[in-house]
């Protein structure tokens, strides 16, 4: 069996999670908890194993032939439009399926522990399996349209999973928000596909070689429309506002969305469609600046958030900004490198946050945590490793990728976006350190003696709570309050700290089914950098991806010394951020409602906390003038024009009927008269006109 024969079997990778989802939907209820979870994890695991086989088979081919298209069938045979359902196996797609399925498998195992006891346990794993399948189809697609199937698939699954606890109003709203916001970007993707078909006559990725010949204006339009789709999916400014709200979903879903299956789709699309971006210089500039600005703005918002998951959400937006910054300056392999390392450390952070929430009676408010390393040793170990990785401390994974992005931007002479990235690196160091110190170090603020809040006012708890059976003080918390409106687990900036929920009992470490995947992922976050250390011969990922981006002019590092100097600068900047945060939070915070960052930043703190009031403004805009505009359109255009046309036709027919009815007099003799007149007229016609 040759490597190419083996590569023909690539369809097994998406098939495995599809089978898993089907099995779980049909038999899930009967399989129950935890068997359904293990089955879901197993199918994703098999998918990962097969991805490794695909990697080995592709690696077997000579470097310049590492691109294999497997056409399954012709999906749409319509004249000039021949859309084939096919998969493209090349270094880019294999890189994605490897980390998507691998990390998703770990997250699935983690979720077995996290979702324990949930009423829709098997449904959860059916959705997540489908999520993975959609993402794999997205990255493996051999044409824009096949990618689009996966693109919409992840959109659907994110909606289902963010709204997984749909009994809670805020979760249902967040799911809709994610779906609608990403849909705004999807229309750009669709129009871009129309344009591509118009210009190239094919939607296959193999046809993109001609992208350079279509004129820079059209190329810019295509690239920007594709980028609009990427902005929506990857939560970049100005369509980022769905991602923080997506925290309403179960934490493993957040981990999936952020690390593996959703937000990296935009980065993938831009990398895959890079010939259009290269053909249009302007689009590249736009991508770089949107990325840089998003990296900076999202990082500032993350500085003061009180919610453990919201900090991570803004952090993801910021890190995705880095990736787009890299794509925009033409450092594609650096962007993909950061996608992979980010998947490692952000996956760790989210699983760690999940473990913290799990062990803390489902509390997400960092202001009432503190000193948790005593109680969650493994979680804190993994979390600290991921913290150092994302803050860019060598030799952890994040350092290598972030540093590569920044130095590529610098050596490409894009000093503006380089400065944005550098400031964002400082802020990243700060907000992650603040989070780690608020959660794991400093003073313990979770204890309240005696439990002063009556059970009815206690913080509501999401399903999938404690796994250690009923514990004193916690059991009461699990009762769902009647008022769903107030039962959001996430804490927005400006809200008072949540009432203490633990009572007199202590936080606890999660079971091994959660800590083992967490520690594995944490290990990846530590060592992930070896994938591409920027030294001659061992930058494996760059070499591996080289065939995909061969048509791109590489950015050369002028000299080794300059590279090291630049790295030193970015590390120093990150360390400054860490240092400031440590000096502010070393002893914890004096009271739950007093956050040094908020107090020291003053007005800026409030501005950051409210995310520049962007979400509120959009909400006001949509619910105020937007609603009035819609109502006006509904009243005038729909009511008068559309309905008017429909009703008008009916009215016209009716009036005609009423008029013509008069002719029917019921008098036989008048009918006879009309017949006579008609006959006479006909005769006249025959004699005068025809007979001539």
């Amino acid at each position: 069996m040759t490597s190419r024969d083996l590569l023909d079997l690539v369809w097994i990778v998406p098939l495995m999670p599809i089978i898993g989802a089907a099995v779980l939907i049909v038999f899930g209820k009967r399989l129950g908890d935890p068997v359904a979870g293990w089955i879901g994890s197993a199918f994703v695991g098999l998918s990962f194993v097969w991805s490794v086989v695909m990697f080995a088979a592709l690696n077997d081919l000579p470097g310049d032939q590492r691109s294999h298209v497997k056409t399954i069938f012709t999906w749409i045979p319509a004249g000039g439009l021949q859309v084939k359902m096919g998969f493209l196996v090349d270094p880019l797609s294999v890189t994605f399926i490897l980390f998507v399925t691998g990390i998703a498998a770990l997250i699935h195992v983690f979720a077995i522990g996290y979702m324990k006891g949930d009423a829709r346990f098997s449904r959860f794993f059916a959705y997540t399996n489908l999520f993975v399948a959609a993402m794999v189809i997205l990255v493996l697609g051999s044409s824009f349209l096949v990618t689009f199937i996966g693109w919409e698939g992840v959109g659907l699954c994110s909606f289902l999973l963010i709204s997984f606890w749909f009994e809670r109003r805020s979760a249902a709203v967040a799911g809709k928000k994610a779906f609608v916001t990403t849909r705004v970007g999807d229309f750009g993707f669709m129009i871009a596909m129309f344009l591509i078909f118009e210009k190239l006559g094919s939607l296959d990725y193999s046809a993109m070689g001609k992208a350079g010949a279509i004129g820079s204006g059209t190329a810019t339009a295509i690239a920007l429309l594709l980028f609009l789709g990427a902005i929506g999916k990857s939560a970049q400014f100005p369509l980022h506002l769905w991602l923080p709200d997506a925290m309403e979903g179960p934490t493993p879903v957040s981990a999936l969305i952020h690390a593996a299956t959703m937000v990296t789709a935009g980065v993938f699309l831009v990398a895959r469609a890079h010939p259009f971006f290269e053909a249009s210089g302007d689009a590249m500039t736009v991508v770089a600046w949107i990325g840089g600005v998003t990296a900076l703005l999202a990082a500032t918002v993350g500085l003061v958030q009180p919610d453990i998951k919201r900090v991570l959400a803004y952090s993801t937006i910021s890190q995705l900004g880095y990736m787009f910054l890299a794509l925009g300056v033409g450092a594609y392999s650096a962007a993909i490198f950061h996608v992979v390392t980010h998947a490692f450390f952000k996956g760790t952070l989210f699983l760690g946050a999940g473990s913290v929430i799990h062990g803390n009676a489902d509390n997400q408010d960092m202001r009432i945590m503190g000193r948790l390393r005593r109680y969650l040793p493994y979680t804190s170990l993994a979390f600290v490793a991921a913290w150092l990785a994302i803050a860019g401390v060598p030799p952890f994974a994040g350092f290598w990728s972030k540093d590569e992005i920044l130095s590529k931007a610098f050596f490409d002479h894009d000093y503006g976006v380089y400065a944005l990235g550098l400031v964002a690196a400082l802020l990243t160091g700060f907000y992650m350190t603040r989070q780690v110190y608020l959660v794991f170090f400093g003073n313990a603020r979770f204890r309240a003696t005696p439990p002063e809040t009556p059970a009815s006012e206690a913080v509501p708890v999401v399903a999938g709570g404690s796994d250690d059976g009923p514990e004193p003080g916690v059991g009461a918390v699990h009762t769902e309050p009647a008022d769903f409106e107030s039962s959001e687990p996430t804490v927005s900036f400006g809200e008072p700290p949540r009432p203490l929920v633990l009572g007199d009992h202590l936080p606890h470490e999660s079971p091994p089914v959660m800590t083992v995947p967490l520690l594995l992922m944490g290990t990846l976050a530590v060592v992930g950098g070896i994938l591409s250390i920027p030294l001659k011969g061992i930058e494996f990922l760059s070499i591996w991806l080289e065939p995909v981006f061969r048509d791109v002019k590489a950015i050369e590092t002028p000299s080794f010394a300059e590279g090291v100097l630049l790295s030193a600068v970015s590390v120093a900047v990150g360390l400054v951020g860490i240092g400031i945060a440590i000096s502010w939070y070393r002893r914890g915070i004096p009271a739950a409602d007093r956050d040094p960052a908020v107090e020291r930043l003053g007005v800026l703190g409030r501005l950051f906390g409210h995310a520049y009031y962007y979400d509120e403004s959009i909400a006001k805009l949509v619910s105020g003038p937007g609603r009035r505009l819609a109502e006006w359109v509904s009243a005038i255009f729909d009511g008068r024009v559309v309905d008017g046309a429909v009703n008008g036709i009916g009215e016209l027919v009716r009036a005609t009927g009423i008029g013509l009815r008069k002719v029917q007099t019921g008098l036989v003799r008048s009918y006879a008269l009309w017949i006579a007149v008609g006959a006479a007229g006909l005769l006249l016609y025959l004699v005068v006109w025809v007979g001539r």
Binding site: Q664, G666, V668
Partner: protein, 106 residues
């Protein structure tokens, strides 16, 4: 112009037929009695029959005469139905005035 010089050509028949048809048509339009209107219809039918026969003679084609038989058959059927309707009207109403029967007025 003596009587012996009178040669009856086909146009005489056609003129007669036209006169009969006109009488029938005008009678149909102006009279209200259903029986009289019915007779007028018969008059018009037979005027047409006369035309057919006249043309059959002048063109030396038997087809015109054949059509007359068809017309007679149809007329017989029409008489049967028409008279039945008139009888039905007489049973339900006092007279047989056409203008009184206008239940299908629009």
């Amino acid at each position: 112009m003596s009587l012996g010089a009178l040669i009856v050509t086909d146009s005489y028949y056609l003129v007669l037929a036209a006169v009969l048809f006109t009488i029938g048509a005008v009678g149909l339009l102006v009279r209200r009695n259903v029986i009289v209107m019915f007779m007028c219809v018969e008059l018009m039918l037979n005027a047409v029959n006369l035309t057919f026969v006249a043309f059959a003679h002048s063109m030396n084609d038997a087809a015109g005469q054949v059509i007359v038989f068809f017309t007679l058959v149809v007329a017989a059927a029409e008489v049967a139905i028409g008279l039945a309707i008139i009888v039905a009207i007489f049973r339900r109403r006092k007279g047989a005035t056409a203008d009184d029967v206008q239940a299908l007025k629009g």
